[in-house]
Amino acid sequence: MSDVAFYDFVRGPFLKLALFVFFIGIAYRFFRVVFLGLPKDYAKPKGNPYYMALKKIVIKPTMGWTFNEIFSRRAINFMGGFLFHLGFLGLTFLVPAHAFLWQEITGLPIPGVPNIVSDLLAYSALGSLIALTVHRALNPVLKLLTGKDEYLANFLIGAILFTGILATKWAGGGFYVWILSTHMFLADLLILYIPFSRLSHFVYYFLSVGFMGWNAGKRGVSF
């Protein structure tokens, strides 16, 4: 297969397949949980459950930051997690090359960030991913909790970030199309893999935090 044929494959049918599986899979995972239903709660609320559910969805990831002793022991998790998510999501949607792709798909004008911002996002995402993975491999609690899924996901994302940086900074002549296609191939694989892994946690974030916030509102708890 030539480099251009491979490029066409990962940009065309393989991407379509990945997206199809992704959307079906994510919808299945979301509704599989929602359709389990809830028992009716007759206890009179002390606060406003709706407001608290929404509030928690907005602020929940930062709530852990307010525990000084937890933050001091898990700065890698908090800082690394924040930088990784910021970098990864920023890169996915706002890097000029990706913004162009999203614009093509959605038809909406999506502005790309300047190259220096893209670089910062990429290096912070890759650096924090490496730090988080090493931490995962060494910390006794994380060693207990970690399975193959976590390492596979981290490896895949790391490879995408690395090949993305390589493609952007490419000075290797004729292999450019191969490296770019590899980057896109790995991204397709990631899209395919998300519904089958814990990477789909973003779907459950809204449910889990929503329920937690609802309960906090119901019980009149403000934090």
Binding site: V33, A43, K44, Y204, Y205, L207, S208, K218
Partner: protein
């Protein structure tokens, strides 16, 4: 109805555990089980893990996320496509008797349902909710720890986990009334408020019951005690036995209905407040039409309405506040005790900036009564001590008798000289000093 404490774990127990876990799944539980990203931050929020850590060793098995892992596996193989396929191919969950023994330790010994991990978890996973299901499954399988099972059964048979039956209740009330010179009305028809003490207070801290009586009398409300509804504690919640929970609540319902009260005042007892405020309306959706207040909520409200006033600061030394998890972090009563304590103490130093950050006493959720859990309770207390020492307080004000009991016990066992006092007793003292 009797809660069992079997020694041998066979296939029947394993199957019962499995079935209970399976049928306890709903959208909320499934969302929590699915959302875990295995970050382990919850470990750092857990008082047992922290205590172990401060002592110089790390026990990763105390991580809250790990406590729900068997439940998660059972969920997956029954409610997910991949899990079902795995089960079909013979790669399903294989539970051994050792696994269930570990679950007993994880759910009953090393979790007080304090909810601190939920607050720290970036995904908002309510681990106490998940641990409660594991507890319920173990109880359903007849595997409740013996000490807890005995106390639970005693509460059903005699009316209280400490064996306080009606004659004992009446004699204790008579004693408290005479000893502390306080009027404690019993079974006064058409009262507006029903105050239900816990047997811990009745038997171990009678001054606390007397103080509540003095405060209620001073506030001028029409209140009573009840012989039928004489126990507020609900050990059904500790064991997660729906039958026991319902039976204990039924007695309260019967007593409250007979007297025609509008309000029920829960005592200084965390699980009593939880059971009456948040569980009872779901057990008796039609009949439970009472407004339930914790005694501290009542005091705060009475002060705001001008029915009570505290002008005397009875605590001169540095004092800090210990929050009851079930009344505070899981019950929303956090501002009230602080507001009241500010009136009572000259030098109140809160050990936490955000009240929901406070650490559990280590004996909640029935852990206090389980002898085999003593080691963990003491480790939990080490975490707790760090907060007292941070503000340099030896006097710790509490609003849960179970917390006072647990804290006192751990403090003595570890040769510490902290003093744990009831906030209601301080209020009564301030009122009395003012009158004098």
């Amino acid at each position: 109805m009797i809660v069992e404490s079997k020694e041998d774990i066979g296939q029947e127990e394993i199957q019962k555990f499995y079935d209970f876990c399976k049928k306890s799944i709903n959208a909320e539980v499934a969302a929590y089980l699915e959302a875990c990203v295995r970050c382990g931050i919850c470990a750092e929020a857990c008082l047992f893990y922290m205590g172990q850590n401060v002592s110089g060793s790390i026990d990763p098995f105390l991580t809250p996320a790990y406590k729900a892992d068997l439940l998660r596996e059972i969920y997956k193989e029954n409610y997910t496509l991949l899990g079902r396929v795995k089960k079909l191919l013979g790669f399903g969950v294989k539970i051994t008797s050792e696994d269930l023994r570990e679950q007993i330790k994880l759910a009953f010994y090393t979790c007080t349902n304090c909810d601190r991990c939920t607050k720290a978890c970036p995904m908002g996973i309510d681990t106490p909710r998940l641990v409660s299901i594991v507890r319920g499954a173990l109880t359903y399988a007849g595997l409740t720890p013996k000490d807890l099972a005995d106390a639970t059964n005693l509460s059903v048979e005699k009316g209280s986990p400490l064996g306080v039956d009606i004659p004992t209740f009446l004699s204790r009330i008579e004693f408290i009334s005479e000893e502390y010179e306080v009027d404690l009305p019993i079974d006064k028809k058409l009262s507006e408020y029903l105050y239900i003490p816990s047997s811990i207070e009745l038997m171990k801290f009678p001054s606390s019951v007397a103080a509540a009586g003095k405060v209620l009398n001073k506030s001028g409300v029409n209140w009573t005690l009840s012989t039928i509804a004489h126990e507020a504690t609900n050990f059904g919640l500790f064991a997660q036995s729906k039958e026991v929970t319902k039976e204990m609540l039924k007695r309260i319902l019967d007593g409250a209905k007979e007297l025609g009260v509008k309000y029920i005042i829960a005592p200084e007892c965390g699980h009593a407040y939880q059971s009456m405020r948040f569980v009872a309306p779901n057990v008796f959706p039609e009949e439970w039409q009472f407004e339930v207040l914790n005694i501290v909520e009542f005091i705060d409200r009475a002060i705001k309405e001008g029915r009570l006033s505290i002008k005397k600061k009875v605590l001169k030394e540095i004092a800090t506040l210990h929050d009851s998890c079930q009344i505070g972090r899981r019950g929303g009563v956090l501002r009230e005790p602080r507001s009241v304590l500010n009136m009572l103490a000259e030098n109140f130093k809160d050990s936490v900036v955000i009240p929901e950050h406070n650490i559990c006493c280590g004996g909640g959720g029935g852990v206090l009564v389980i002898k085999d859990a003593d080691y963990y309770r003491q480790k939990g207390f080490i975490s707790k001590m760090t907060l007292f020492d941070k503000v340099g307080a030896k006097t710790v004000v509490c609003y849960c008798a179970n917390c006072i009991l647990a804290l006192n016990k751990s403090s003595q066992e570890l040769n510490r000289d902290y003093k744990f006092v009831s906030i209601v007793e301080l209020v009564a003292e301030a009122i009395e000093e003012e009158e004098a």
